[in-house]
């Protein structure tokens, strides 16, 4: 187990390193960036850039300094905003994104697992079809379509919930964004869970359990649930990535001042520094989250745990 964790940890390092390196060179190659002198940037920005990127030093040294900075959490200056560096802007947005995303994933797991279990129990009967249909809508409707519709229905027409904005941080402002963010994941988890339970229930060891006469409750609770949950745990890794991309839309539509909103604005304004820095930040985050999920999965799987 420990050896697996260590190996997994070590394998993320080259990934991160490659990612950062690619980003470094992409920045250099960018046409219209500060590095080819085409696009005139305000002098204050140029000053920041020159200072940060050490343009007068040789390339290798620039690279090493850059990597060193990233390791220390310094993602460079923004190309548009002269007062705040990329890191500073990101840090402002992190709490908002984090709140919405964590709530979304927790809710997605709870709803998804419950729906999947129900679907499996009532397999191919009415409740299964009904749940299946709802799941379908969750899977198919893009979040940028659901969001405005929900805003219209619940925000404008019914007036139950605020249409957008963080407001004073009260839960009412979070309801719609979290729901929109979690729907596709709840749908996928539900599908996974249902399929997984059905597959597990057909496994030989469940037949053994039934042949032992221990009863349906124990058979499901003790023998079936844990193996059935494994694919769901596995899914949480990639889910982290999807959540972050989903939050781009959700934060834009609902006007939440999170990382996603900063990213979109920067991208539309061609703020290379900000875009690049955010991409690095996201990548690091996703890689770390995947690592955590993988290690958790390995912990839960006895075959790996006992090695």
């Amino acid at each position: 187990m420990i050896s697996y964790a260590l190996k997994r940890l070590l394998s993320t390092i080259p990934v991160l390193w490659i990612a950062v390196t690619v980003c470094f060179f992409v920045l250099r190659l960018a046409p219209g960036g500060p590095f080819d002198g085409e696009r005139p940037l305000p002098p204050a920005i140029l000053k920041n850039l020159a200072a940060h990127y050490n343009l007068d030093k040789p390339l290798t040294e620039q690279y090493l300094i850059y990597v060193g900075n990233v390791l220390q959490g310094d993602l460079g200056p923004s190309f548009i905003n002269e007062d705040f560096s990329v890191t500073e802007q990101l840090m402002i947005g992190v709490p908002y994104t984090f709140t919405v995303a964590s709530l979304a994933i927790i809710l997605a797991v709870i709803v998804g697992v419950a729906a999947g279990c129900l679907g499996a129990i009532y397999q191919n009967k009415m409740p299964d079809y009904a749940i299946g249909f709802v799941i379908l809508t969750g899977l198919v409707l893009p979040n940028f379509l659901i969001a405005p519709i929900l805003q219209l229905v619940f925000g404008v027409k019914l007036g139950w919930l605020p249409v957008a904005g963080w407001g004073d941080g009260s839960p009412r402002n979070l309801v719609l964004p979290v729901i929109v963010l979690m729907l596709p994941h709840a749908a996928r988890i539900s599908r996974l869970m249902r399929g997984s339970i059905i597959e597990v229930m057909n496994a030989n060891y469940i037949r053994t359990a039934r042949a032992k006469g221990i009863g349906p409750r124990l058979t499901v609770m003790r023998h079936a649930i844990k193996p059935a949950l494994m694919p769901v745990v596995s899914y949480l890794g990639p889910a982290a990535g999807y959540l972050l991309t989903g939050s781009l839309v959700v934060e834009s539509v609902f006007g939440l001042p999170g990382i996603g909103k900063y990213f979109i604005t920067a991208a539309l304004n061609r703020d290379y520094g900000m875009v690049l820095g955010t991409v690095i930040f996201y990548m690091v985050l996703i890689i770390i989250l995947n690592l955590v999920v993988d290690i958790t999965y390995a912990f839960l799987d006895p075959k790996v745990r006992t090695r």
């Binding site: 057909n202 496994a203 030989n204 060891y205 469940i206 037949r207 053994t208 359990a209 039934r210 042949a211 032992k212 006469g213 221990i214 009863g215 349906p216 124990l218 003790r222 023998h223 844990k226 193996p227 839960l300 799987d301 006895p302 075959k303 006992t306």
Partner: protein, 328 residues
């Protein structure tokens, strides 16, 4: 005549498939006496496993049983799952073919062993563990204490099968059904496992049903043999009679197709033709397309399982050795 422990009367198993209804077992009549050792022999698809899976309520979702399967007088066909649960795992236990997949990979074997005792006898975990450890020693697992808390994948196939057998014996069953218990094991281990079955069931006075396609296993352990073909019982006799004097042509062909050291290989004969399509069984005897003794009657009429000798039954119009008296 002692009352039968498990008695099948007009018992059938059907599967509903998109292609139609598959009669996996058709109108079976068979009795199993307490303490006896019965081998059920047949090819894949002969219905030998489905018979007992069906009786214990372990069929796939599209499977249905009909008729009677009376265990100590109580009909298990159509019995509520809750009632079946009082029988399964205690009075009647089953050991399955593949030890690699029969145990739950995410639970320690201690858990899987103690639960069967706890559920059926209300024992505490400590008491159940004590019994489980004792049984593990009995089935031949060295150092049971050390191995008690491991996960199944940490044990070899032979060890796992011993654990499964231990599980099946913990509640002192009256009937133990073993479905191809040695097929997935090394030849060297097979004999040991068979010994286990033999010794431990006679110790308990339990009846043993061994489902197999291997006549060697039959010879090693059975008192009586039932031969199934196309979902039906076609012959039933004491083990010695089956080997020395098989009546049904299928039984005879089965025995001829086994290599034996005391017979030249040239005498070995494979059975011509293919196993029957259960969706399209012949009108007459299911074996007739492949039978060397086939007559016109065999094609149109299905032979019933009739007594043909002392303690023997066969379902054939032209049994081997026609000088055998048909008992009234």
């Amino acid at each position: 005549m002692t009352a039968p422990l498990l008695e099948f009367k007009d018992y059938s198993v059907h599967f509903a498939t998109p292609e139609g209804d598959v009669p996996a077992v058709g109108r079976l009549n068979l009795s199993i006496k307490p303490g006896e050792r019965l081998a059920i022999v047949g090819e894949s698809g002969s219905g030998k496993s489905q018979t007992f899976l069906g009786a214990l309520g372990l069929l796939a979702r599209n499977g249905k049983t009909s008729g009677e399967a009376n265990f100590e007088g109580r009909n298990m066909v159509g019995m509520r799952a809750a009632d079946l649960d009082t029988i399964r795992g205690s009075a009647v236990t089953m050991v399955f073919q593949d030890p690699m997949t029969a145990l739950n990979p995410v639970l320690r074997i201690s858990r899987q062993l103690t639960e069967i005792v706890e559920v059926h006898t209300g024992a505490t975990n400590a008491e159940a563990s004590r019994q489980a450890l004792g049984m593990l020693a009995k089935v031949g697992i060295p150092d049971p204490e050390k191995r008690f808390n491991v996960y199944p994948h940490e044990l070899s196939g032979g060890m796992r099968q011993r654990v499964v057998i231990a599980m099946a014996l913990l509640n002192r069953p009256k009937l133990l059904i073993a479905d191809e218990p040695t097929t997935a094991l090394d030849v060297t281990v097979q004999a040991q496992i068979l010994d286990l079955f033999r010794n431990l069931t006679s110790e308990l006075g339990a009846a043993l049903v061994i489902i197999t396609h291997d006549m060697g296993v039959v010879a090693g352990i059975a008192d009586r043999v039932g031969v199934m073909y196309g979902g039906r019982l076609v012959e039933e006799a004491p083990v010695d009679d089956i080997f020395e004097n098989p009546q049904h042509p299928y039984t005879r062909a089965l025995l001829s197709s086994i290599p034996r050291p005391d017979r030249p290989v040239s005498e070995m004969q494979a059975i011509p033709g293919r196993p029957p399509n259960l969706l399209r069984l012949p009108q007459g005897c299911a074996f007739n397309p492949r039978c060397p003794a086939r007559t016109d009657l065999c094609v149109t009429a299905r032979p019933e399982l009739l007594p043909m000798g002392v303690g023997r039954r066969s379902a054939c119009f032209n049994p081997v050795g026609t000088n055998v008296e048909v008992a009234a």
